[in-house]
């Protein structure tokens, strides 16, 4: 399916490549031009992705806007794309955050052209991961995503950037290798049982994976995704990566890349191996609860604003996992909306920290104090975002967290009860930071002269503030769109494997040729 004959998913994924091509023609020192091109292309990509929201018919459910054709026939790999209610929303989040990150990186003067190329390539990988329904294709996008991020941290990061970048790569790669092994093994199992080669995820859903193997395969997938989330205890790459990464990198990393992990559980690891999930559930829930509390506690003692926000991600993503493992409507729906919330709120927090870093070249909490005086607008925006992250009802964070707790309570009252302690801890660590940065008298003379937000910075933050209020007051447009997909996911977990409904277009014969990969 496509909109007005345009294969919209391919368009969204590959539109940034036109920007890359254009940037290759730009001279090395034409930073301003490079910025303009990147901004225009990411802006266009966001606009191109918007129709997906309206095109996705929640009443019909399943995968829509599907594009499918042979890619490497010898291996059975296909170019197979499709969006469900969840991935559609995640793509919108991705295109929006990428656009805002480019706008936020306006003062990035070191190798601007290359920086923008990396961001655009990253966007290709990210949207591709969310939309690929062929596992081989998915893995290609998965790896495509890794390298630009490695360079963004390693080249444009701060002092310990190489250490952080390597840690990021080694962690994710080590885990990805295991996943690749598992993918190839699944491919083999599928061949064995059906007699033909295929990486089609929807076919793999139907596969009855024999038991001991299922356990190991799930473990391999789960590990790869757990590192990305990151789940406790695989999270230690995150604080380093965030602290060293430039603002745009942090925003995309927290806003989108972490969702690859939770999305991977939702799309791959859990529907393919429901029996193994059932066995591992107590452990996984325990780890989710541990992450929620552990992240929050460690947050309290961080002297660096960025590190604090990074650890808060560990806690918040723990909530996402908790909801997912509840395997009921409120839990999973809460988990999915929390993914969007975390992207918006944490993205905004990193943007805000980046803005003060650009002015002062430090992120240490102790360097500030009394900023409410010289920067009232900045302080106000910061407070709204902090409150959203704390989960103040009426703002976005609450809707997700409450649904997750509600769902989790139904299956594990103690787990949910203990996790609810995070509402206290989040208030402590975020408001304490806020107090130290914004309240009191200005203690350092340099801070007295700090300029408040510029028009460009306000433009970066405004869309996120709108979303923070909108998703908090009226989350219905988001919840409704993801409802059928969430129901399908839950059905896939209900013991005996039910048939996963496919949209009619998701059959090889019905594919119209004419979409080229490149």
């Amino acid at each position: 399916m496509s909109i007005l004959g345009i294969p919209i998913l391919s368009l969204v994924i590959f539109l940034p490549l036109t920007g890359v091509a254009a940037l290759l023609l730009v001279g090395r020192n034409q930073g301003a031009l490079a910025r303009g091109i990147a901004l225009a292309v990411t802006g266009l990509t966001f606009l191109a992705s918007l129709p997906m929201y309206f095109a996705y018919d929640a009443a019909m459910g399943g995968f829509q806007m599907v594009e499918q054709m042979d890619w490497i026939p010898a291996w059975g790999a296909q170019y197979f794309l499709g969006a469900d209610g969840v991935s559609m929303l995640l793509v919108l989040l991705t295109t929006l955050l990428t656009f805002l990150s480019v706008l936020a990186a306006w003062n990035e003067n070191r190798h601007t052209r290359e920086f923008m190329i990396a961001v655009l390539l990253l966007e290709v990988g990210m949207t591709g991961v969310f939309l690929a329904l062929d596992v081989f294709l998915f893995y290609v996008f998965w790896e495509v995503m890794l390298f630009p991020m490695y360079f963004i941290i390693g080249v444009w990061g701060s002092d310990r950037r190489l250490y952080a970048a390597m840690k990021f790569v080694v962690y994710t790669m080590a885990a990805s290798v295991l996943m690749l092994v598992a993918i190839l093994f699944m491919y083999y199992l599928n061949f064995q049982s059906t007699g033909h080669s295929s990486f089609n995820l929807l076919e793999w859903y139907h596969l009855k994976v024999p038991f001991p193997a299922q356990y190991w395969l799930f473990a391999a997938f789960a590990l790869a995704f757990a590192v990305k989330v990151p789940m406790f205890p695989f999270h230690t790459w995150l604080p380093d990566a965030h602290v060293e990464a430039p603002t745009a990198g942090s925003v995309i990393l927290a806003g989108v890349l972490l969702k690859m992990g939770t999305y991977g559980f939702y799309r791959f690891a859990m529907p393919m191996f429901p029996d193994a999930v059932l066995m591992a559930l107590p452990v996984l829930m325990g780890l989710a609860v541990a992450a929620i509390l552990y992240g929050a506690l460690v947050c309290m003692v961080q002297p660096d604003m960025k590190k604090l926000v990074a650890y808060s991600s560990v806690s918040h993503m723990g909530f996402v996992m908790l909801g997912l493992f509840a395997l009921n409507t409120q839990g999973v729906q809460g988990s999915m909306i929390q993914m969007l919330n975390h992207g918006v709120s944490t993205g905004a927090l990193f943007l805000l920290v980046g803005m003060i870093y650009e002015r002062r070249h430090t992120k240490a909490i102790a360097e500030f104090g009394g900023l409410m005086g010289p920067m009232p607008v900045y302080a106000t925006v910061f407070l709204v975002v902090v409150l959203s992250s704390i989960g103040l009802p009426g703002l976005n964070g609450f809707v997700g967290e409450y649904l997750i707790l509600l769902g989790a309570y139904g299956v594990n009252p103690w787990g949910a009860g203990v996790s609810a302690l995070a509402v206290v801890l989040a208030a402590i660590y975020l408001l304490w930071m806020y107090q130290r940065v914004f309240f009191g008298l200005v203690t350092k003379a340099v801070n007295q002269k700090l300029a408040d937000l510029t028009l460009r910075e306000m433009a970066v933050l405004a869309p996120l503030l709108v979303l923070i209020v909108w998703m908090g007051v009226y989350p219905k447009p988001f919840l409704d769109k993801m409802k059928p997909s969430v129901d399908q996911f839950i059905a896939s977990q209900a013991g005996a494997k039910p048939a996963v409904p496919e949209s009619p277009a998701a059959k090889p014969e019905s594919v119209k040729p004419g979409v080229s990969l490149r």
């Binding site: 309290m300 003692v301 402590i428 304490w432 219905k476």
Partner: protein, 643 residues
């Protein structure tokens, strides 16, 4: 007023918040001082209309559903606004007293740079408070609940340059959040028990779904009470309220005396059908209420800051209200909420009037004789003090407090001990209030510049007079049968709430009219004695009392330092938590444990340096390719192995 225009009541202060917040700074203080109080006054008028309409509506309830907030599975949370007898009364208190205090604030805050910001927050507070009481769903109530907490945070921290104000604001929010933890978990339990978060539905089904006295109902009500104790400043979560006095005085009057701090009581009253199912919880509520009442009253004895006296007095009076609800007298609790709103708002505003006149001096030892300089302020403060001390037969506090004491004594859930604690508290209250009256308003002046002190302008004294009028007459709505019965005066408050609250299971209630009158007389005599004593000690014998105060006797020192509870919490809760997070979780588990393992493994493989060189040469692809090749080999091996 039609049902479908109920939304306008909260929408008015919300609009006030947005306009003041966005345009207030540009349009200036005249605009703000018209708009800020104006929207609340308009909301008050509409509230009266809604109230009257409610009284004529079938079932004494009117409601309006605006839209669905959250819908997921069988959870359905509509935004439904509801006015019934309980929320109707609260509506009048919030908007009525709210308007008067807004008016006062126009005078009190004049000339402040953050004038617009102050009124924006104050309007936002009224909005959330209205949502809190008008919500039909527990979750929507929670929106208001947290919203008023936020406004309290913003207003306590209004003077953000002051470290003490900033710390107090954070403390208030965090301690409230501890209560919210209880609230949230209770709501999760209730949803899975009842399948809904609509409070009417839960009340209706409560006795069917939950067995009376079951562990489940006790757990869920205790958790709700944790929430209520946080918001309404009860032991052990009361510590934030005295510090909240860092906020401007109108804030103390509105939020930290008249309205927000009674939200916990509102919750109990609203869920009365749930609470009466658990005698154990009710016993805890009564005990905590009585303990807080007495405990805070003793601290108030030794405070010299006029606002601190009033703050501890608020904790203490809130304790009274919980005591009432704990013995099943929900109506008596709400009655005291109302009269307390009148006289405590009055006392705070009068204190505010003094504080402005003295250029932000709050120490009562530096006052004295103010009644001559500020007759209206002095006279109205005296009325407030008479009301809270329970001066008999005229003042509102007498009737509502007497009702609580009588219920504590005579209800099946009450006891002589609870009554006795209430009695002692009443005596202490009378003493410390007249100590304050004497120190601040009478006796010899100890002012540094008495010639600069003048009565406040009408915009401040008018609110004082309105509240003074209410502090006197408000109690006449609840004249007990033992006094009014013979004269044909009915207890209108009791009549108003007839059949609204759940009843505690009938048991061996004791006491007749004779006993009631006897106890009433005893309380009255003791309170009058304490008032006279407090007044005399701190006017005629003032120098001697202050000299004794100077010697700092042990008991006094403990009281003045609030029993060192803050220090205790710091030592037992905060420091260990911080230490574990810092030294154990972060620096040991994270840095040494997990990271140490990862880095160690990487070093052992000497992989870091090798990959790094490749990366710097732009050849990381080679690594990727070799990785894929390696993976293929592993799989090949596995496949052969399994065959």
């Amino acid at each position: 007023m039609m049902n479908d225009s109920l939304w306008i009541i909260p929408a008015l202060p919300l609009a006030g918040f947005l306009l003041n917040g966005l345009l207030g700074r540009k349009l200036g203080p005249v605009f703000v001082s018209l708009l800020g109080p104006g929207v609340v006054g308009a909301a008050f008028v509409l509230s009266i209309m809604a109230f009257n309409r409610m009284l004529q509506a079938p079932g004494l309830t009117i409601s309006q559903t605006l839209f669905t907030w959250i819908q997921s599975g069988n959870l359905n949370v509509p935004v439904t606004l509801l006015v019934d007898r309980l929320s109707g009364l609260y509506l009048l208190i919030i908007t009525g007293i709210g308007f008067v205090i807004h008016l006062f604030a126009v005078g009190y805050m004049r000339g402040e740079a953050g004038f617009w910001r102050f009124f924006a927050y104050l309007n936002l507070f009224i909005f959330f408070m209205l949502i809190l009481v008008m919500a039909s769903s527990l979750l929507l109530l929670f929106v208001g609940w947290e919203g008023v907490g936020l406004c309290s945070y913003l207003l306590i921290g209004y003077y953000f340059e002051k470290d003490s104000a900033a710390a107090a604001a954070k403390k208030a929010f965090v301690v409230n959040r501890i209560g919210d933890f209880g609230f949230i978990v209770a709501s999760l339990m209730l949803f899975w028990l009842f399948g809904t978060l609509e409070m009417a539905g839960i009340n209706q089904q409560a006795s069917v779904v939950l067995g009376a006295g079951s562990l489940m109902v006790t757990t869920v009500t205790l958790l709700l009470f944790v929430g209520a104790a946080g918001k309404s400043a009860q032991i052990p979560l009361y510590v934030w309220l005295p510090d909240a006095m860092e906020g401007p005085t109108p804030v103390s009057a509105l939020i930290h005396a008249a309205t927000m701090v009674t939200a916990g009581l509102y919750l109990l009253a609203r869920m009365s059908h749930l609470f009466v199912l658990s005698p154990a919880t009710l016993a805890v509520v009564a005990a905590v209420g009585a303990a807080t009442a007495l405990f805070s009253a003793t601290i108030a004895l030794a405070q010299n800051d006029i606002k601190r006296v009033l703050a501890y007095s608020t904790c203490s009076q809130l304790g009274y209200m919980f005591l009432a609800m704990g013995v099943g007298a929900f109506g008596a609790g709400v009655f005291h909420v109302m009269t307390h709103a009148f006289f405590k708002a009055l006392l705070f505003l009068a204190a505010g009037s003094v504080i402005t006149a003295l250029h932000h001096e709050q120490d009562m030892r530096k006052m004295g004789g103010l009644a001559k300089k500020m007759p209206i302020t002095g006279f109205t403060f005296l009325i407030g003090a008479l009301a809270i001390s329970g001066f008999p037969l005229i003042f509102s506090g007498f009737f509502s407090k007497d009702e609580i004491l009588w219920q504590a004594f005579s209800s099946p859930a009450g006891s002589t001990l609870l009554w006795l604690v209430g009695l002692i508290t009443a005596v202490l209250t009378a003493f410390y209030m007249f100590r304050a009256v004497g120190m601040a308003f009478f006796g010899a002046s100890r002012l540094e510049h008495p010639e600069h002190v003048h009565e406040s302008p009408w915009v401040m004294t008018l609110p004082l007079m309105i509240l003074a009028f209410l502090s006197v007459t408000g109690g006449w709505l609840g004249i007990p049968h033992s006094l009014g019965g013979g004269l044909g005066i009915t207890n209108r408050m009791e009549h108003y709430f007839e059949g609204f609250f759940a009843q505690v299971p009938a048991g061996a209630g004791h006491g007749d009219t004779g006993t009631e009158l006897g106890l009433m007389a005893l309380t009255t005599v003791l309170a009058l004695g304490a008032m006279a004593l407090g007044y005399r000690m701190f006017t005629v014998n003032r120098e001697r009392a202050l000299a004794w105060d100077q010697t700092d006797p042990m008991v006094w020192k403990v009281l003045r330092n609030k029993y060192y509870v803050d220090e205790l919490y710091n030592l037992v809760v905060w420091r260990p938590l911080h230490w574990v997070s810092d030294k154990v979780l972060w620096k040991t588990v994270d840095v040494k444990g997990i990271d140490g393992t990862v880095n160690g493994a990487a070093r052992a493989a000497r992989g870091m340096g090798w990959v790094l060189r490749l990366a710097q040469n732009g050849m990381i692809e080679i690594y990727a390719v070799s990785m894929v090749a390696g993976a293929v080999l592993v799989v090949g091996y596995l496949v052969f192995l399994t065959e």
